[in-house]
Symmetry: C2
Amino acid sequence: MDDDVPLILTLDDSGSTASAPLDDLDREELPNENGGSYDVVHDASSPAAGDCCAQQSAARHNWEMNYQEAAIYLQEGENNDKFFTHPKNAKALAAYLFAHNHLFYLMELSTALLLLLLSLCEAPAVPMLRLGIFVHATLELFALIVVVFELSMKMRWLGFQTFIRHKRTMVKTCVLFVQFIEAIVVLVRQTSHVRITRALRCIFLVDCRYCGAVRRNLRQIFQSLPPFIDILLLLLFFMVIFAILGFYLFSPNHSDPYFNTLENSLVNLFVLLTTSNFPDVMMPSYARNPWSCVFFIVYLSIELYFIMNLLLAVVFDTFNDIEKRKFKSLLLHKRTAIQHAYGLLVTKQRPSGISFRHFEGLLRFYKPRMCARERYLTFKALNQSNTPLVSLKDFYNFYEVVGLKWKAKRNREHWFDDLPRTAFLIFKGINILVKSRVFQYTMYTVVAVNGIWILVETFMLQGGNFFSRNVPWSYIVFLTIYGVELLLKTTGLGPVEYLSSGWNLFDFSVTLFAFLGLMALAFDMEPFYFIVVLRPLQLLRLFKLKKRYRNVLDTMFELFPRMASLGLTLLIFYYCFAIVGMEFFAGVVYPNCCNTSTVADSYRWVNHTVGNKTVVEEGYYYLNNFDNILNSFVTLFELTVVNDWYIIMEGVTSQTTHWSRLYFMIFYIVTMVVMTIIVAFILDAFVFRMNYTRKNQDSEEDNGIVLEKEISKEEVIGVIELYKRSSAATETAQLQKIVLQMDKYGQMSTVFLGRRSRTKSDLSMKMYEEEIQEWYEEHSRKEESQTPLQEPASASNSSLKPLSLRQRSQTVI
Amino acid sequence: MDDDVPLILTLDDSGSTASAPLDDLDREELPNENGGSYDVVHDASSPAAGDCCAQQSAARHNWEMNYQEAAIYLQEGENNDKFFTHPKNAKALAAYLFAHNHLFYLMELSTALLLLLLSLCEAPAVPMLRLGIFVHATLELFALIVVVFELSMKMRWLGFQTFIRHKRTMVKTCVLFVQFIEAIVVLVRQTSHVRITRALRCIFLVDCRYCGAVRRNLRQIFQSLPPFIDILLLLLFFMVIFAILGFYLFSPNHSDPYFNTLENSLVNLFVLLTTSNFPDVMMPSYARNPWSCVFFIVYLSIELYFIMNLLLAVVFDTFNDIEKRKFKSLLLHKRTAIQHAYGLLVTKQRPSGISFRHFEGLLRFYKPRMCARERYLTFKALNQSNTPLVSLKDFYNFYEVVGLKWKAKRNREHWFDDLPRTAFLIFKGINILVKSRVFQYTMYTVVAVNGIWILVETFMLQGGNFFSRNVPWSYIVFLTIYGVELLLKTTGLGPVEYLSSGWNLFDFSVTLFAFLGLMALAFDMEPFYFIVVLRPLQLLRLFKLKKRYRNVLDTMFELFPRMASLGLTLLIFYYCFAIVGMEFFAGVVYPNCCNTSTVADSYRWVNHTVGNKTVVEEGYYYLNNFDNILNSFVTLFELTVVNDWYIIMEGVTSQTTHWSRLYFMIFYIVTMVVMTIIVAFILDAFVFRMNYTRKNQDSEEDNGIVLEKEISKEEVIGVIELYKRSSAATETAQLQKIVLQMDKYGQMSTVFLGRRSRTKSDLSMKMYEEEIQEWYEEHSRKEESQTPLQEPASASNSSLKPLSLRQRSQTVI
């Protein structure tokens, strides 16, 4: 914590050596850099304008370009974009800026989604969404043309050389080309051919800026593959040995259909690996000789209980290692980005730091939405020395500080402090009540009673008509209690403080839903039962009671974004397999399709008439088909769950060739990889979190990262002056407000609190604290040795050479 | 490594301060301790014998008692026995010695096994092993009486007070009492009643000295339970919420048998948790409304893919923590044991260390089988200072050093070095050939070709008669190649070196088995196919090629003892459940038993006559019953594998009450606990091992712990002198041999190598190197503060007080 650094910044004190930021404007300095990458254009114009004003304006323009480029460097550092894609000239910069804003990203995303969603309407379409071939092919062409446009913008920005070198973009271009030709062929022939290449459409989604997490996941999966494949081979090796053994042992038994050929033997042992056919595959031989169970027990013990867990262990270990390496490389990448940006912001006159004016210029490009107050606070938070300049050492904390949200620290403890005495006492009473343990535990008891009540009530219903239109009184009673609690808490704590806790937010929304349910009930609306069943969710509140659950649920929320991206990754795999499945297996399974196979029962649909009653005997498995993309997804989910997946496999196989099994087996292995990664991820995240908690047991309850900064009135006025000179009206107005506020309360200074939630990166920072120093040192050593080589290529790097990078990084936490 | 400590021990040099060990005998010293715990008896006798000789003999007797007690302390340290069970007087000591030898342990084990195996012959007996009630009840009574005898010995050793305090023993006593009464009741009534208490027989096995690992596992399982149960509650909570939701959503659909009552809803969601009924449970509602799949997908995603993995994460984390704590406590326990032993071995005259004479006396009791040479080498290995005494600091390494197996270092590089020139050259050639890469890779190629050959051959068989009596020529060719390889390797490396590698041993045994198979084939023996199928095991050799596999397989072998004990733990749980299952469900399932239930098909046994052929339609599931203990074990294994376990559950339930489901559900949860622990264990072991390898990448290939010690001739002669005086003829003879050996080769000294395999404890020592120091310091601080309190209770502790325990521990690796 560095909140007590004394204020030395003496503004407008032009005689002192520590000159104020606004001095910069008078004696227009030149950037240390030769104007970054884009000065070529401006250098051409500057000799033409010979007078001082034009020179000053050119210099200012130069500075603006430097700000721009520094901001781009910082963005690249943050997004882990490699620096070789950095825009190299003004034309590239224009394209870069065009291709790097949310509108463009949204266009990218929506085109990709449109392309993916087309498979809902194409050939084996979802009945309701079927479109004519002409319509969907035209739509596809349109989307592809948009992608062409996007790619051309990217080429403009990257230049042809870099464009060719960028692997992902090249793959995208190839896929685009193939898709284009196929779409035209479809349009010309007016009929869809076997288009497995549609599975490649995912690449358009993966390449989207917003899907960075998915790309990272995919990279991680591919990196975990080599050890995974090693162990998989071990697994398959034992499978083959046991298949041969099983064939020799059990094929003499003619009532055993599972081992009669080597192929069957292999397939059934593969399925046994998933336990999906377990007792059945053993039964015929077990019936003949009870000791044959030893074969299956040994097989399962080795394969399922040992090697499969080994797989998890190896992937988990690799995952751990990759996570750490990834963190390290991102950290060093960010550091390099900061160095690049720093080089562009220091002046020739004062190469030891960045003044506020230049910092402000950077932030204008890096975070255009940030208001003047926040810019100044960020600057102050970074500046840990007593000079008006931010040194490189301080600037290294840029990413930690720039995300902080600043708010004036309120002096009032409660929201009702300003109310009249009587009201204050009442609210104070409510506040104390609400915060008391007795109140909390009473509420827990009510929730528990409510839970039991719901259970008993549901148990009593037993098939009766639970869609009766009269509201059960218990529902009203409990809802009233929750409503009163809500009201008390809101008034006692104030709405802002009340809703700032995630748990309270949860309570609030659940109660709100329950009220909506009551409304729906009162107004006789159909989907009443949907709301009613949300009631038990109140019970989740009970889990607040125990620390472990709080920990678990907090981690769950922290993990959620990452989990979602893993889910999306899985969906992308699903999409590929769904397309392939649809192309090959659409329409092959239907009721009573597989009467010749061993799984005929599951596909049966018979309509007996027993006496005068019609009895329908259904196997239902014909519903697990690849007839359209939605069905395919459900079928693939069933395959993911693994249980009884062989019924689906055998059904399809019996209608096609036995090579179809390959599809199902490959899918199993792919989902196994992804699932193992998911398990490894959850394991890693929780173990990491628990280790972290164990390491920091003293600072147990934390509400993210908080930083305190005090700002005096003079400082604000100084900054206003600065803005006034550069005639920035809105900024000036914003800052004036702060001064007014201070005047109102008669304060000479205001304390601001910067807050942001803790990220995984922060945790890692703390966990690897010692190692990080080593990385930095190693990195700066490497850079020093590399710089002479790089010098002719990038001038911006050389400017950093004289600066010692071997400073202690100070994590602002 | 400390193999180059100079030899300063100047023997028979009585003038020097560093007096030789044999000096001790002349001036009979008194032990520092007041003769340990058992001197009461001898103190009474010593005043009676007034003359010098008698005094000396009493002193010697005193010393013997001290050696004994020190050895007991060290054993207690090693076995992690608590010191409060330490025998307190001579009577207790006699009982202790009686109860602590392998004969007694074997008796314990065999009684326990007899009791467990009785269930093979009791009431629902295995048909072949059925015994009359009178016979098995008498056997049981006999076994129980033996247990009574064992317990009485234990009581004698522990004393009544300690006996009562020792929980495990008390539980055992209670169980014994119940079993006794029941056995008598059975004998009197001449009929077995419902004897669920038989499930408790396991405790007799668990309490065996040889089952220490099982006890540790059980303790670990119980320690992991609290966090496990927490997450389990979360799991069950979501299950209940979804059960209510499912009931509301799907019970209006009358064709859906899975959700028609809340109970069914709960049971089916529990089964769904195991995925065992997966697509089926969804099908009726999915057929009606495709969107109902969302319910199941959400349920499985939350429960199966999230919370179940969370369970693993939490258990893994706890496991990690427990492993470390366990290691710490064992380490400190050993340290305390060493301190106790040390206190008993130092003399009053020289309290700074243990002389060889006393060390030798200790080893005589601690490891009676150790020969004189090894005793001296162990002493030398411990003694890292230049004095003839082993200080406490050195003595702390006792456990690391005492396990070493000592062998004279051979000066010859190859076994054939002494052979005549021609033979030497031939063997040298073979040696070079065998060690060459070309030879190795040729063999790998042969193995690979053999593997493919076997696969193709088996594939071609396709149900033909593969029991033909003529030996396939390929078999002979490959076997010849392997035979030649074996011969070359044995001659080239020498049989001893050849067989010292685990991999070579594996090659050897597989080739041997293949030869046996050929023999069996030649002599027309039936179980030929059993040997034939072992051939593919040769392929395992291919896994030597890659480092990861070597790592994995090495770890596998290292883990094997622990895995076996975990397996045994699982079997103990199986036993309990099998007994309970047999008592309640024996004979309830049989062919066509469950025609009224939903799983009727699986239990069907129909004998159609279609045309003139008899077609048997079998469901086979009636084989999964609890009719005897072997069947129960197989059934329980099927339940462990989880797939289709609900068929077994529903079958049994339909024949009994629906409360039977409780049995199956509890079994599922118990196996889930044990399995999660097993997974956590494998994960932990591998990740630990890989971290270790990563940490010590330079010393990659290690063959366990090796220590080198040089012994000079004079030293040996000195030790011989010592033994001669105490008239130990065998020891003298052993040592004379070494002198003769040295004379033969004209050496003045011989180098001995101490070797043992690396244990988990060694790895942990290295991994926690830094922390161990902290633990030691903390421990000695704690001890210092505790000693004043303990002083009156145990005198042996106080003797350690003046010694500084804060020494650097030196791991002898």
